[in-house]
C-alpha cells in the first residue's frame, strides 16, 4: 500500500480497519434482501414482452382467484395516487399506464403469500396489446416518421439536480439537450497546425450491483415506511411523498447495508411499485428483483460522439468540438443530468481556448438509462482521451508529455465559471507513468499508455448532520449518507474521533433513516467524504463549542477562560474530558450534547463543482494478433484525493473503479437486437473476473491537501473508471497499430481491425 503521508493526524489519514468488517465477514451484515416484517407478502412483476405497444386490456381475474394471491395491481388500479415519478421529469409511471415503452417494462404486479405463489399467478394475467412501431437508437428517434414515445409534457421533478430546462415531452423524442461554448472553434480549426476528427461509440453497460434492487413497503394510515437498497433515500422520499400526496414527515425510508450501487441505485427504482402493492394489499410487501429484472430496470446511457480536436504549431490544444447523442431509453430517470455532466466532461481536464459541445439525449424503446459511476464521464472520455493520443501521434509527440503540456494546472480557471482546478495532474501523470515503466523497452505486441480524467464532481452541496456526544464520552453520528461499501461508516467516525479527540471505537454511526438522520441530498458523485465529512467535522466543532459553554457553567467561570484541548477542556489547573463536562452539567452521569451542521452552496462550497475529481491511470497490455485478445500486463491507478481519510479505502475505490472501466474497455456491453435485449443475464453479460486481473497492479494516491473537504480532502472513486476504455484503445493502437473508436475492444473487434489493416 502506498499513499500514506506523514501528518500529525492521529486517526484520519490512517488505514484503520473497516467498521463493518466483522459483520460482513461473518455473514451478519443485514441487507434489505435479508429483512422480513411480520405479515409480509411478496410481489412479483409481469413484464411487457413488447417494446412499444398500447395496452388494450388487462384481465387479472384468474390471477386474483389463484389461492394465496392477495391482489394484482395494474396501471388501471392506481386511482388515488399520482402514479408518475422522476427525479428530473415525472415521466415514469410506477406501472405501465395505457402503453408500454420497452420490452421488460412492469405491467402488473401480483402480491401473494410467498414468492413462488406470486410467480405462478403471473401467467394467469391476460394482457392484450396493440403493437406500435418501436425506435431503438437515437438516430431512429430523430427520424421524421419516428413514433413519439411520450405524448404529453411532464411536470418537472421536484428535486432537479441541474439548472437547465428539460426538453422531454415537448413533441419530439428529445429528452434533454445541453450545450457549452466559448471562444470560436471554427476560426481555431482554420488556424490549427493539426486536427483530429472521429466518431466514437460508448456502449450501454450494466452496473451489476450484486444485490439486485429490493424494497419492502408498509403503507398504513401512519404513513409510508420503506426499506430499500437506495443510494439516495431522501430523493426517494420525495418521489413517494408526491405519489401518495403526503407530508414529508409521513414518508420514511430506511436503508441498511447496500450490496453495491455504483450509481445504479441512485434515485427512485422499485420503491413506488412496492409501495403501491402494499397500499393495495393492505399489508407489508417485499419486492426482490432478480438480476435479469435488474438488467431491465437501469443501465448506463450509451453515447454516439463525433469529436474534433486541434493543436497549434507549439503543440497547444486550441480547440475541441463535439456532438453527442445519448440513448436514454424509455424514461428520463437521471439522464438529463448525465447529459449535462457529459457535456462538461468533454473538455477533459485540459485548458482549451475554444470549445463547442452539443449534447442531446433521446428517448428510445429500450431499458431506461440513468446514472452510472462517473455520470457520463466515461462516455466522453473515450473520445476525449483517444483524441489526445491520436493528436500526439499525428504531430509526433510523446502522448504523456503532450498531456503534461496541456493539462489544467493547479489553480487554473480552465473551465469558465467553475471552481479553479484543485488537482495536480502533473504529479498524477508522473506517478502513473513511472508505475508502468514509462520509457523502458517494450516487448513486441505490447502497448503502454497513460490517461487522465478530471470531472466536475461532488454534485450539489446540501447536507446536514448531527453528532451526539454522550455522557460517557462516546459519540453517535447521525448521517444520511448510505454505506454502499465505499466506507462511509469508517471514514465519518475517523473524522469525528479526530475532531472530538476520542478513540475511533467510541464513535458509532446511524445512517440513512429519513425519519431520524438529518437530510443529506445523495450518496453519489464521490461527495460523501467531502460534504458529509465536512458536515461531521463542523458538527463536532459545534458540539465542542456547546461543551465549552457547559464547562464554563459547571466551573462557574467565563467561557473565555475555558480552553478546549484534545478530548476535553482545560481551565487553569482543571482538566475535564467530555464525559465529565456532560455529567457535571446534568448532575447525572447521563444526557448528551447534540452538535449540528448545515452545509449549503455558500462559503467554501459556493463555487461549483465542489471539487474536481482527478485521477490518472496507466496500462500496459499485449495483443494476440491471431485472436485479437487483449491481455492486461500492468495497471496503475493514481487518485488525486487531497488527503485520504483512510488511504486503503481510497485505493480500494480506485482499483474497483478501474476494474469496472477495464471491463467496459475489454468486454462489457449490453446488446440490443431490434426490440430485445440479447444478453440480459449474467450468463451472457461478461464481467471482470479473477482471471482478468492485470498481471501487475499498483495503486497510488496523490495527497496535496488541496480539496475543500475536511483536512483538504476531496472525493474519489469514479475518476479511475473514466479513462480506462480510452487507455485500452490507445494502448492497443500503440501495440498493434489499429485505432478502434468503440468500446468494448472485444477480441473480434480487434481481430477485424487487424485484418482490415493487413489487407
Amino acid at each position: 500500500m502506498s499513499g500514506e503521508t506523514k501528518t500529525d493526524f492521529q486517526i484520519v489519514n490512517h488505514s484503520i480497519p473497516r467498521r463493518d468488517g466483522r459483520v460482513k465477514v461473518t455473514g451478519k451484515a443485514q441487507y434489505v434482501a435479508d429483512l422480513r416484517l411480520i405479515g409480509m407478502a411478496y410481489a412479483k412483476v409481469l413484464r411487457s414482452p413488447l417494446a412499444h405497444a398500447k395496452i388494450i386490456s388487462i384481465d387479472k381475474s384468474k390471477a386474483e382467484a389463484h389461492p394465496g394471491v392477495y391482489c394484482v395491481v395494474t396501471g388501471f388500479d392506481l386511482d388515488g395516487l399520482n402514479p408518475y415519478f422522476g427525479h428530473a421529469v415525472k415521466d415514469h409511471p410506477l406501472l405501465a399506464i395505457d402503453k408500454v415503452r420497452y420490452a421488460g417494462e412492469p405491467v402488473a404486479a401480483v402480491v401473494a403469500i410467498d414468492e413462488r405463489t406470486a410467480f405462478e399467478a403471473l401467467e394467469f394475467i391476460d394482457v392484450k396489446y396493440e403493437e406500435l412501431k418501436g425506435i431503438f437508437t437515437p438516430q431512429e428517434a430523430l427520424a421524421k416518421d419516428a413514433p413519439l414515445l411520450h405524448e404529453k409534457k411532464f411536470e418537472a421533478g421536484a428535486l432537479r439536480g441541474f439548472e437547465g430546462d428539460v426538453t422531454a415531452g415537448q413533441g419530439t423524442n428529445i429528452c434533454q439537450t445541453h450545450k457549452i461554448q466559448w471562444g470560436d472553434v471554427d476560426k481555431a480549426f482554420k488556424e490549427a497546425a493539426a486536427v483530429i476528427e472521429g466518431d466514437y461509440y460508448f456502449p450501454m453497460t450494466y452496473a451489476y450491483a450484486m444485490e439486485p434492487y429490493v424494497a419492502i413497503a408498509d403503507v398504513t394510515d401512519q404513513g409510508v415506511n420503506v426499506y430499500s437498497s437506495a443510494q439516495h433515500p431522501f430523493m426517494v422520499r420525495h418521489d413517494l411523498k408526491n405519489i401518495f400526496n403526503l407530508p414529508v414527515s409521513k414518508v420514511r425510508l430506511i436503508v441498511p447495508f447496500v450490496g453495491g450501487g455504483y450509481g445504479s441505485k441512485s434515485y427512485t427504482k422499485v420503491e413506488p411499485l412496492v409501495a403501491a402493492c402494499s397500499w393495495k394489499a393492505k399489508r407489508p410487501v417485499k419486492l426482490q428483483l432478480t438480476v435479469e429484472e435488474a438488467m431491465l430496470t437501469t443501465r448506463s446511457d450509451d453515447a454516439y460522439t463525433w469529436m474534433k480536436t486541434a493543436v497549434d504549431k507549439n503543440g497547444k490544444i486550441i480547440a475541441r468540438q463535439a456532438k453527442i447523442m445519448m440513448n436514454t431509453g424509455a424514461y428520463a430517470e437521471n439522464s438529463p443530468l448525465v447529459v449535462e455532466k457529459s457535456t462538461n466532461r468533454c473538455v477533459g481536464p485540459y485548458a482549451i481556448a475554444n470549445v463547442l459541445i452539443e449534447n442531446m439525449s433521446l428517448y428510445t424503446n429500450t431499458v431506461p438509462a440513468s446514472s452510472y459511476r462517473g455520470f457520463g464521464c466515461a462516455q466522453v472520455t473515450l473520445p476525449g482521451e483517444s483524441q489526445i493520443d491520436e493528436l500526439a501521434t499525428k504531430i509526433g509527440r510523446d502522448p504523456y508529455e503532450f498531456r503534461l503540456q496541456n493539462a489544467a494546472k493547479p489553480g487554473e480557471e480552465f473551465f469558465p465559471g467553475m471552481r479553479p482546478f484543485d488537482g495536480t495532474l502533473k504529479q498524477d501523470l508522473d506517478t502513473a507513468a513511472k508505475a508502468i515503466g514509462w520509457g523502458t523497452p517494450l516487448a513486441k505486441g505490447h502497448g503502454r499508455t497513460v490517461a487522465v480524467s478530471g470531472s466536475d464532481a461532488g454534485a450539489y452541496p446540501l447536507t446536514s448532520t448531527a453528532v451526539r456526544v454522550h455522557a460517557d464520552g462516546s459519540a453517535t453520528i447521525m448521517t444520511g449518507s448510505t454505506e454502499l461499501g465505499q466506507g462511509s461508516h469508517t471514514v465519518l467516525p475517523q473524522i469525528a474521533a479526530e475532531e472530538l479527540g476520542i478513540t475511533y471505537d467510541k464513535v458509532n454511526v446511524i445512517s440513512s433513516d429519513t425519519a431520524i438522520t438529518p437530510y443529506d441530498r445523495s450518496t453519489g458523485a464521490s461527495r460523501t467524504t467531502t460534504l458529509m465529512g465536512s458536515a461531521v467535522q463542523e458538527a463536532c466543532q459545534e458540539a465542542i463549542a456547546q461543551m465549552v459553554v457547559m464547562a464554563a457553567d459547571v466551573l462557574k467561570v467565563k467561557k473565555e477562560e475555558i480552553q478546549s484541548v484534545r478530548g476535553g477542556v482545560r481551565c487553569g489547573e482543571v482538566e475535564l474530558n467530555w464525559s465529565q463536562v456532560i455529567s457535571k452539567f446534568y448532575a447525572l452521569p447521563d444526557g448528551e450534547v447534540i452538535g449540528r451542521s448545515y452545509i449549503r452552496k455558500s462559503g467554501k462550497f459556493a463555487a461549483l463543482p465542489v471539487f474536481w475529481e482527478a485521477a490518472a491511470t496507466g496500462v500496459e497490455l499485449s495483443v494476440d494478433e491471431d485472436t485479437g485478445k487483449i491481455t492486461m500486463e500492468k495497471l496503475a491507478t493514481v487518485g488525486d484525493v487531497g488527503l485520504a481519510i483512510n488511504p486503503a479505502l481510497a485505493e480500494g475505490q480506485d482499483i474497483g473503479a478501474a476494474t469496472m472501466g477495464m471491463g467496459i474497455g475489454l468486454f462489457e456491453e449490453l446488446v440490443y437486437e431490434g426490440s430485445q435485449l440479447m444478453n440480459g443475464s449474467i450468463l451472457d453479460y461478461r464481467l471482470p473476473r479473477f482471471s482478468d486481473l492485470p498481471k501487475q497492479v499498483e495503486l497510488h494516491l496523490v495527497q496535496n491537501r488541496d480539496g475543500v473537504g475536511p483536512y483538504g480532502a476531496k472525493g474519489g472513486g469514479e475518476a479511475s473508471l473514466n479513462s480506462m476504455a480510452a487507455n485500452i484503445a490507445n494502448a492497443v493502437d500503440k501495440a498493434v497499430g489499429v485505432r478502434i473508436r468503440q468500446a468494448p475492444l472485444t477480441p473480434e473487434r480487434v481481430w477485424r481491425a487487424l485484418k482490415e489493416k493487413n489487407k
Partner: protein
C-alpha cells in the same frame, strides 16, 4: 419432505419442498442469511457453501441433495469464543471487501481452496476463485487476503 444433515457442526432436521434450493432452506427456514444470492444461475459464486468440504452454489443446489451430508456456511467459521477464522480476519486486514455482498461466498470458496492447497500460488488462487465475482474490489485485495490467510493458517499449525 424431511431432511437431515449436519450444519455448522450440529445435526439439523428440516421440512422442505423437493424444489427448494439449499439457499432457500438456509435463508428462509434456518435463518442463516449470511449466504447471499445474486445471479441464481451458478455464475457469481455469492451463494457458495461447502457440502462435504466441496464448494457448491446453494442457489441451484437442491436442498434434498444435502441429506445426510456435512454443510458449512459462513456462519460456521467463527469459533465459539468469537475468534474469527484466519480467512475472515485476513479479509478484514486486507480490506478485501466493500459492499460485502460477495464476501460470504468468497470466504467459503477461499476456504475450500486452502483446505486442499494450504500454500497456493497467485495463479492457483486466481484459477480456483474464478467462479466468484466481486464487483467492488477489483479482486486485488482478495488475492492478498487469501495469501495472508494461508500464512496465518500455516503459522497456527506450527504452534
Amino acid at each position: 419432505m424431511n431432511l437431515q444433515f449436519t450444519l455448522n457442526g450440529k445435526p439439523w432436521s428440516v421440512d422442505c419442498e423437493p424444489a427448494d434450493t439449499l439457499a432457500e432452506v438456509l435463508r428462509n427456514q434456518l435463518n442463516l442469511n449470511g449466504t447471499k444470492v445474486s445471479c441464481e444461475v451458478q455464475v457469481c459464486g455469492a451463494c457458495t457453501v461447502l457440502v462435504d468440504n466441496l464448494p457448491v452454489s446453494a442457489c441451484t443446489y437442491l436442498a434434498y441433495e444435502a441429506r445426510g451430508k456435512n454443510l458449512l456456511t459462513v456462519e460456521g467459521l467463527e469459533k465459539a469464543d468469537g475468534t474469527l477464522h484466519p480467512i475472515q480476519q485476513a479479509f478484514i486486514d486486507d480490506f478485501a471487501f466493500q459492499c460485502g455482498y460477495c464476501t460470504p461466498g468468497m470466504i467459503m470458496a477461499a476456504k475450500s481452496l486452502l483446505d486442499e492447497n494450504p500454500n497456493p500460488s497467485r495463479e492457483e488462487i486466481i484459477h480456483h476463485m474464478d467462479g466468484n465475482i466481486c464487483r467492488c474490489t477489483g479482486y486485488v485485495p482478495i488475492v492478498a487476503a487469501i495469501q495472508r490467510a494461508a500464512g496465518m493458517i500455516a503459522k497456527e499449525k506450527k504452534q
